[in-house]
Every structure is written in structure tokens, then in C-alpha cells.
Symmetry: C2
Subunit: 266 residues, 2 copies
């Protein structure tokens, strides 16, 4: 075991592995600890109260591992639990909403921005609030896409069913004048090609995990804690048994996961 | 509050309401207490260990309410947790697997039976074991249909997406010689028409909730505990906040749900 402090990353399950993928690409020399709350996945259809409780429990586990930053690699948890997480833990907390909203507000020329996410994320209005804080004149259209998560887990991201589902969910954005669409769920980057086919190439797709990884990099640089070399450790924990995570995780992470440990939380 | 003992029914969420619907049709004078474990839904993708723990916790809550019988209105929990539930609680336990398997074995003329269910139910092999115990010569084909649960909750049970998904999932049964198909998940009865369109009218569809309700009726008659009249009470408890259950429940139950209470489990 090396002596580097790790970055702690958590999600309700495997979706946050797309965020870890972006973090590994952007910060290749960091140790990482990933927690997937697979015993209680999904968060997207659950209440703010429940998701906040779960996020605090996992945040505590990662804080106990002495991580130097906490990445909430789940849009739903970011949308509903961020103030509590920031209030409780004495380490920097990176969420999914803020970085993606800043990128979208900066990229959009028309000032019309679309958001897709889980039921919990869309209901929270967190993206809309964040965008309006940056620029009150922005016009925002949002749509929940609950089928995208199980479709991604089934591996159906570019077949006829995925295309029909995307056509149905993206209908509110056609003729809405948006030029930027926030992929406000960590599963959604797997549908980038399908979404482009439905929406056209002129729409900028904002990947919340990529933007969070960029802001994490800036933060570590400011803190003087960005690693520049050395060996790396990747640790994975799940709250259910590891089989399903091992089986599906690789598709989301884009590289092999060789060992996953079970933890009981709380 | 009347003095009748209630029937306790539980599921991971709202799917078990199709079972409650069958119980209400078959046993209209019984008091019922329904628990939906909406804080931890779904069970279908989770491990046997986790689902068993959850089922025991909810079984304890219902047992503490002095129910006269416990209905495991969830195929996944029935498939993995039944022996533990029967061993722990001193009341009759009705599951989804046994009644549906008996009906299918009785109905099939060709001896070729199909099963569809969640990942957890299919992986457990519980239906296959139950069918082979009844008749070792039965030939069994099974297929997991993970998208059916979120499709049912989205209300997409007979549109193009549902039809394409059903065509994909039911492909293993075409030309397999089955004459009977077990709908081994409480969400699936909502797809009866779509499944008939794909499979044809000559296939007998076995609804696990309907069969469990019939066996519950026989059991209460044997016990001398079947109610024949009087006022009835329907109580509903969920482990997450009630909003989503209230909103979606009616479609699954087929009648209005006017009050749902939150409980913390464990």
C-alpha cells in the first residue's frame, strides 16, 4: 500500500464508474476508492430524505478512509444531499450538478439549455437552480428518462429499443431551441451516440462526470495535492455482493475491475 | 378498527399490488396489511443474501401486527428467502413460486413450460426446481426480463417499446414447444396483452399472484379463518416516503389507494 491519500468516489451503484473513468483519464496518478451502494440502488426513484441518509452513511465510510476529496458520482445524490454532505464532512466535496451547469451555461449560445436525468434529479430542480444562479436569463427545459438506467445496465444503448426510448424522452427538446443538453445521470454518457442520432450533431452534450473530473483536477492543483507520478491503487467496495458489479462494471469503467470488496453500511 | 385478523402481504415495492388485487378479488372480506419496501426496491437485481435479510425484517414487522398469514408477494423474495421465512415465523407463509408451478404443471399438455422473471428469480432456479419436484419429466426454458419492471412503472406496457422489448425477451420461447408460460414477477401481468401478441393465444399464461390468492383461500378455509362478511380494512406501509407509491400504485392495484404510512425498517 502506497502512502498517497485517495480520492473517495461514491454512487448508488455502477453508474458512477463513468465518472471514475473521467477521473482516471484526467488525474491518472491518483489513488481512488469507489463505493457503489448496490444494496440500495437505485437512488433515482427514491425520496430526497432517503437518498440524503444513504449519502451521509457512505460519506462517513469514505471520510473514515482519510480521503482527501469526496466525489458524489451520482446526480441524484448531488441534487438532494449536497448541502448536508458539505456541512458534515471536513473535506472538499465535488458534486455532479455544479460543474455540468457551469459548463452548459458557458457553452450555450442560444441561452436555451436542456437537462435529462432521473426522476429524483429532475424533481429536485437542482440543475435549474444552479443554471439560474449563474445566469437568470437562461431558459431551461428538463425531462426525466427513467428507462435509460435499466437499458444501460442491460447493455441496450444503441439498438432499436434504445433509439425508440430516446426519441420518446427527447421529444420535449425537439423545436425547443436548445443548443446544449446536460446528461444529468452517470448512466447517460453510454447513450451519447443514440442521443446525437435523435437530436442532431449541432447539440453540445455536457457529460457531468467529465466536468466534475476537470473541477477536481483544478481543486487538487489549488490544494497542492495533485499527484504527479508513482504507483496507484484502485479500491472498490459495494454494499451488496460483488458479482453483478464485477460483471457489469467493466462496460461502465472502460477497463477491467479485478477485485471488489463487500461492506455493510451503515 | 374491526377485530378481524389481517392477511400480511409484502413486496419490494408496488408490484405486489397485482397480488393484492387478486387476493381482494378472491377473498373480498379479509383485512389486509401491505408493506412495500420502497426504500430498497428493486429486489430483482440484488443478491440472495440481501433479499433474505430484507424479507426477514419485513416479515417481522408483519408478524408483530398479528397477521394470520404472510403472503410473499414478490417472486424474487419467494425464490430466495422462503425457507428462512417459513423457519422463523410461526404463521402460514404463502409464496409466489409454489402455486404458479403447480398450476403450470397441471395446465401443460406438452410438458414444455416457459418461465420469465427477474434476474434474481431466474438465477435462483427456484421455479425449475419446483416444477421438477412435481414432475421430473417437465422440460423448462427460462428467460430474465429486467426491463419489464421499469417499463411497467413508466406505464409503457403496450406501446412499441414494450412490444419490441417483449419480442426480444420472448425469443427463446419461440419454436421451443412451450404451451404454458409462467409470469414469474408481479409486474408482468400488466404485459399480458403484449405477451399474447408476441406468443400467440394458444399459450397459457400463469399469473403467480392469481394462483397464490387461490391457495391462500383454500388455506384459510382449511384453517377455518376465512372471513365471510363485515367491514374491511386495507392498510398500506412503505419504507420510503409515500408519494411515488400513491401515484403509481393505483395502476397496479386497479383501485384507489387513499392512505399510505411510512415505516422505518429495520
Amino acid at each position: 500500500m502506497n502512502k498517497k491519500k485517495s480520492i473517495g468516489i461514491f454512487d448508488s451503484g455502477i453508474g458512477g464508474l463513468t465518472v471514475l473513468h473521467s477521473i482516471i483519464s484526467t488525474l491518472p496518478h491518483e489513488n481512488t476508492i469507489y463505493v457503489g451502494d448496490t444494496a440500495r440502488v437505485p437512488y433515482g426513484t427514491k425520496s430526497a430524505r432517503m437518498v440524503t441518509q444513504y449519502a451521509l452513511e457512505i460519506g462517513k465510510f469514505l471520510s473514515d478512509q482519510q480521503v482527501k476529496a469526496l466525489v458524489v458520482a451520482c446526480n441524484t445524490a448531488s441534487a438532494v444531499a449536497l448541502p448536508k454532505l458539505k456541512g458534515v464532512f471536513n473535506i472538499p466535496v465535488i458534486d455532479m450538478i455544479g460543474p455540468a451547469a457551469r459548463k452548459a451555461a458557458h457553452s450555450s449560445i442560444s441561452g436555451n439549455i436542456g437537462i435529462i436525468g432521473t426522476e429524483g434529479t429532475i424533481r429536485s430542480g437542482a440543475y435549474e437552480r444552479s443554471l439560474k444562479e449563474i445566469n437568470p436569463d437562461l431558459s431551461v427545459v428538463s425531462s426525466k428518462c427513467p428507462l435509460f438506467v435499466p437499458l444501460a445496465e442491460e447493455g441496450w444503448v444503441d439498438n432499436d429499443i434504445a433509439h425508440l426510448t430516446a426519441t420518446c424522452y427527447l421529444e420535449p427538446f425537439i423545436d425547443s431551441g436548445i443548443d446544449t443538453l446536460i446528461l444529468g445521470c452517470t448512466h447517460y454518457p453510454l447513450f451519447k451516440e443514440t442521443i446525437r442520432k435523435v437530436m442532431g450533431d449541432h447539440i453540445t452534450l455536457v457529460d457531468s462526470g467529465e466536468e466534475a473530473a476537470c473541477e477536481l483536477k483544478e481543486l487538487l492543483e489549488e490544494m497542492g495535492e495533485k499527484e504527479e507520478g508513482g504507483t496507484i491503487e484502485r479500491r472498490y467496495f459495494v454494499t451488496d455482493t460483488p458479482e453483478r458489479f464485477l460483471k457489469l462494471g467493466q462496460r461502465f469503467l472502460g477497463e477491467e475491475i479485478d477485485q471488489v470488496s463487500h461492506i455493510d453500511i451503515p
